[in-house]
């Protein structure tokens, strides 16, 4: 699994009247696909600022002082608004803390949910087609390079076939899925209706029967209901006649309806229990034999037959061809990487001397980035962000250096002049009501270090890659490549109409637990309670089907049952869609269930980082102890240990450990020097001097020790 998002050495501050507030101070983390990272900390610890930087919605007075956020081969801190617009909400979606501020008060919520779906669908069909074509073209180019131009006709024939039958397959599949969904819906509807009728509870039977009659014809599908079509048609007429003859007062007619519905339900369940056809294979078969009816055999037979057909006629060849292309491309990339490694010592010494002029530095950077851009392996599905962003990052760092060289003397001169003026006035005995703005002087050594860091990063990365070049599993990559092509193809044919969007939105609303979703669909935000509004916001965020979901305290304003529901919902969606989630909260209890990794933040720094088990069963940082001990669990009887005081003023961040002033375990060195990261296990580190080998042994507070004991006992460990 590749890293989907990387944040490296991010530093953000805010210019305010009182001075510069250092909100985020050098934090790094990464997220893998399908993983949940929880960021926990008090308000003002910089957790929201970090996520806002990821989405590119920082406030106007913010300054990004350094670092990078790598996503999909781009540095999100450096791309322009146009490109960011494509990522925001589509690839990375966010659920905000306050639901009211993220809903439009004068637009019905149904429209707000479907809006993004419809817009995105149009765009994504176009983009997916483009990407699909680009991928195939790239594959073709590599193949021709491997096999020579003599084979080019054959190769393009193969690729064309692949393109065509993929689209055919996807068309079949969408139709099948639609019918399948409808059948499932019907079963649920009938089940609910029967349970009500059995209890003699009041429902509008006629209306419900009408609904069922309307939905029934849509279950018919070539593959799904093969052999049942006559039966379904018969049911449709029965239901319609039942509807017209139903009498509310008569027990007999109710019994009749119930019997008919139970039978229908059983039939539908039988239909659904059949195994699922593999449309990828069927697509190829039906393209090669357009006259075949396909339905005269059972699904299992069909699957087997088409698989054999596909493998023998096409797939085996295609995969071997594809593997050769991928191998070729990877080898070329490795060769290019070796070249980069050869060039790096020169660049290192050039920038390492710290005496370089602008022209030379730019030339050096250009040379190096040209070499690095050769290393891009276009047939690799997982984009290597460092390679993609290397050129811009290096250029940026060099620009920053020369800007500082130019501006530093100016700033110093201004500062000197102003202070002299102020002193003069003070000497004359005047009251001066203005302050001298301190000089903004950048440390040139730091800036050169930044340049070197970028170069060193790429060097270590490439060394690893070259060393591991032998162990790459190309057949696995070939299959991943085909999967990705399939996915793109499914997006190309996926056409969303307004009606379907409405059905999807209602389904989504049901999923997030909004009752009477059909009525609610046409209501305005003010007609919903707080919890309901939050659910709508979640539904909107999910409607775009993002890769990364950022949840900024989504459950803080909700009560337990709904909180549990929403956490479960996010967890399920994460599993279904292989979603990566960044979950921000101040309540550690909330994240125990959903987090894979937890980062505890305090005063703009990550103070402890580890898996959920590490943080809950073996916390090391005093701040984590304090967070854990200040909330009661169900067995807590003793007095809670509150954290005294308030977080520090981040205009003047403390010299040493920021938590030292509120920490009863603080050592002397905590006030003088920032603690480095001490590794506890490879996946778990904490930034506290208590972990230093020479530090005195300190036990966590009693309340935590007891709780961990209890939890371990309960967990049977």
């Amino acid at each position: 699994m590749g890293k989907i998002l990387e944040v490296n050495n991010l530093k953000i501050s805010f210019r305010t009247q009182g001075g510069t507030v250092k909100a985020v101070r050098d934090i790094s983390f990464d997220i893998e696909k399908g993983e949940t990272l929880a960021i926990v900390g008090e308000s003002g610890s910089g957790k929201s600022v970090t996520t806002k930087a990821i989405l590119g919605i920082l406030a106007g007075n913010s300054i990004v002082e350094g670092g990078e956020i790598l996503f999909d081969g781009k540095d999100l801190l450096k791309i322009d608004e146009e490109e960011m617009h494509k990522i925001r909400g589509d690839k990375i979606a966010m659920i905000f803390q306050d639901p009211l501020s993220s809903l439009n008060p004068i637009v019905k919520i149904g429209k707000q949910i479907t809006e993004a779906m419809l817009l995105k669908n149009k765009a994504s069909r176009r983009i997916s087609r483009k990407e699909f074509n680009a991928m195939l073209a790239c594959l073709k180019k590599n193949l021709i390079e491997v096999h020579g131009s003599a084979a080019s006709a054959e190769i393009s024939e193969k690729i064309k076939t692949f393109d065509k039958f993929n689209i055919v397959a996807i068309k079949y599949e969408t139709a099948y899925n639609d019918a399948h969904d409808k059948a499932q819906e019907l079963i649920a509807d009938i089940g609910e209706m029967l349970s009500y009728m059995e209890r003699h509870q009041k429902i509008n039977v006629k209306e419900k029967l009408g609904d069922i009659a309307k939905k029934l014809p849509r279950v018919t599908n070539k593959f799904l209901s093969a052999g049942y079509d006559d039966k379904l048609a018969a049911y449709a007429t029965t239901v319609a006649s039942l509807k017209s003859s139903y009498d509310e007062k008569s027990e007999e007619s109710a019994a009749k309806v119930m019997a008919a519905l139970a039978e229908l339900k059983a039939t539908l369940e039988e239909i659904l229990s059949a195994s699922r056809p593999d449309f990828f294979r069927i697509g190829y078969y039906s393209m090669m034999n357009p006259s075949a009816t396909l339905v005269d055999m059972s699904i299992d037979e069909l699957n087997e037959m088409t698989l054999k057909f596909l493998d023998e006629n096409f797939m085996k060849d295609f995969i071997s061809l594809e593997t050769s292309a991928i191998k070729h491309s990877a080898e070329r990339s490795i060769a290019a990487k070796k070249k980069v490694l050869e060039a790096i010592p020169e660049a290192r010494t050039y920038f390492g001397t710290k005496k370089f002029d602008k022209k030379g530095a730019k030339a050096q950077a250009k040379k190096l980035s040209a070499l690095v851009s050769n290393c891009i392996d276009k047939l690799d599905i997982v984009k290597d962000s460092a390679t993609y962003t290397f050129g811009s990052a290096l250029n940026n760092a060099i620009d920053k250096y020369f800007l500082a060289v130019k501006n530093n003397p100016k700033e110093e001169a201004r500062f000197k002049k102003q202070s002299a003026k102020r002193e003069k006035l003070v000497k004359r005995g005047k009251t001066v009501d203005w302050k001298v703005v301190p000089a903004v002087v950048y440390d040139l050594d730091d800036l050169t270090d930044n340049i070197l860091k970028i170069i060193n990063n790429i060097a270590t990365k490439y060394e690893n890659d070259v060393a591991n070049a032998e162990n790459v599993d190309f057949s696995a990559r070939a299959i991943a490549f085909i999967d990705s092509l399939k996915e793109k193809a499914s997006l190309v044919v996926y056409k969303l109409t307004k009606r379907m969007a409405k059905e999807k939105a209602i389904k989504l609303m049901d999923e997030v637990g909004i009752p009477d979703s059909r009525i609610r669909y046409n209501q305005y935000p003010f007609e919903f309670s707080g919890g309901m509004r939050q659910r709508i916001v979640i539904a909107i965020a999910l409607s775009a089907n993002p890769d990364i979901l950022i949840c900024d305290e989504p459950t803080t304003a909700l009560d337990v049952t709904i909180q549990a529901q929403i956490l479960e919902l996010i967890n399920n969606l994460k599993k279904e869609r292989n979603l990566s989630v960044i979950f921000i909260t101040h309540d550690l209890g909330v994240v125990a269930n959903i987090a894979d990794k937890i980062a505890v933040m305090y005063a703009g720094k990550i103070v402890e980082y580890g898996t959920a088990d590490d943080i809950f069963y073996d916390p090391r940082h005093p701040y984590t102890w304090a967070l854990l001990s200040s909330m009661p669990d169900l067995d807590t009887e003793e007095k809670l240990e509150a954290i005294p005081g308030t977080p520090p003023n981040m205009i003047y961040p403390p010299v040493g450990d920021a938590f030292a002033a509120r920490n009863k375990y603080a050592l002397k060195i905590d006030f003088e020097q920032q603690p480095p990261q001490f590794d506890v296990t490879p996946s778990h580190w904490a930034a506290t001097w208590l972990l230093h080998p020479e530090a005195p042994k300190v036990e966590p507070p009693q309340i935590i020790k007891e709780r961990i004991e209890r939890m371990k006992k309960r967990g049977g460990m």
């Binding site: 009560d559 549990a564 101040h586 209890g589 269930n593 304090a626 200040s630 807590t636 809670l640 509150a642």
Partner: protein, 414 residues
Amino acid sequence: MAEQNREVLLRVENLCQYFKSGKYVNKAVNNVSFDIYKGEVFGLVGESGCGKTTTGRSIIKIYDITSGNVYFKGQRVAAGTLSYKEAIKSARKRIAAEIKELEAKNEPDCKEKVAEKKAELAKIVAENKAAIASAHHDNKYSDRDYARSLVAQLKKDYDAKIAATKDPMKIAELKKQYKNDVRIAKKTKLITKIQMIFQDPIASLNPRMTVKEIISEGLVINGIKDKKYLEEKVYEILELVGLVREHAGRYPHEFSGGQRQRIGIARSVIMRPDMIIADEPISALDVSIQAQVINLLNELRENLGLTILFIAHDLSVVKYFSDRIGVMYFGNMVELADSNELFAHPMHPYTRSLLSAIPQPDPHTEKQRQRITYNAALAHDYSVDKPSLREVCPGHFVYCNDAEEKAYKEEFGV
């Protein structure tokens, strides 16, 4: 707390609070009854919109209650009239039907029987009308009655004191003091003995008043004019809630969330209330600050002997803080028990689903957690057998019908 010396401080009887919106009636609180004993913390939990905040607000008379009674220190402070009106209506309907029936039969003693029925109706109407009048009176004059009783008490005390002293100077001084005290007593309202802490510390503090003005406002309204006394009081209370004197001159925006909530608490404590209604006082605060506020409330409760009605949705906190817990669902009280008992033996299916949803700071139990879902329509069959709040075992009340009561009793071997 020993069982025998439990004094009921607040009694809520069949409280109903309906809101009319268009032609629909929203039954926010429906027939809720409970007692709160002196010195205890009574937790009220339930999902949002279930009427727990409305209950709190009805008790403190922010709303005029629709039906039912609220007794505080034995005095009825709020009363609704809907139940009486409905009684009259149903009696009229019933008796009209009976009279019609009698007339249809046309028996020889028909006229006498009809007259009898009419007399019966008149009696019922008169009774209920009297009840309505008394409810109106209590709603309006409960504070005045309380003030009068205070004045009478003062008169008695001072008469005794004046009779005991002989020095004319002292007598004059006492008389002056008496006059002042009577003036304050006349303005005293019974309802000020219940104070409220609100959920959102930012929204509940006036941004244009200093902390001193905010905290002392209640006393000023109650007729205290002595500025020095007010200042002393404010400083005393500020220190009590863990702030310092210097904070008195500042404005609310200069404080952090936890400190703001402390100001809110100080404002309610300065009235020396017997009871505090804390409406989700910690849900808007950070976890670390939450602990500070809970510890503060605990200290105040011990030092001042406060009774607290604690409304919250964070069940771990409620469990930690409360002696008894009432669970509400859609305007009904569905379960009421001692907090340990409730968590050990939850009976009502809604309570079970609520308890199963509590997040725990423990990844292993969290990952195995099975949330129980609750659907009122599927869980109960109330078509024939009507439910009510019943005491299933001592001190443990559950909203159920006969069949369910039997099932619960069997399940827990009572």
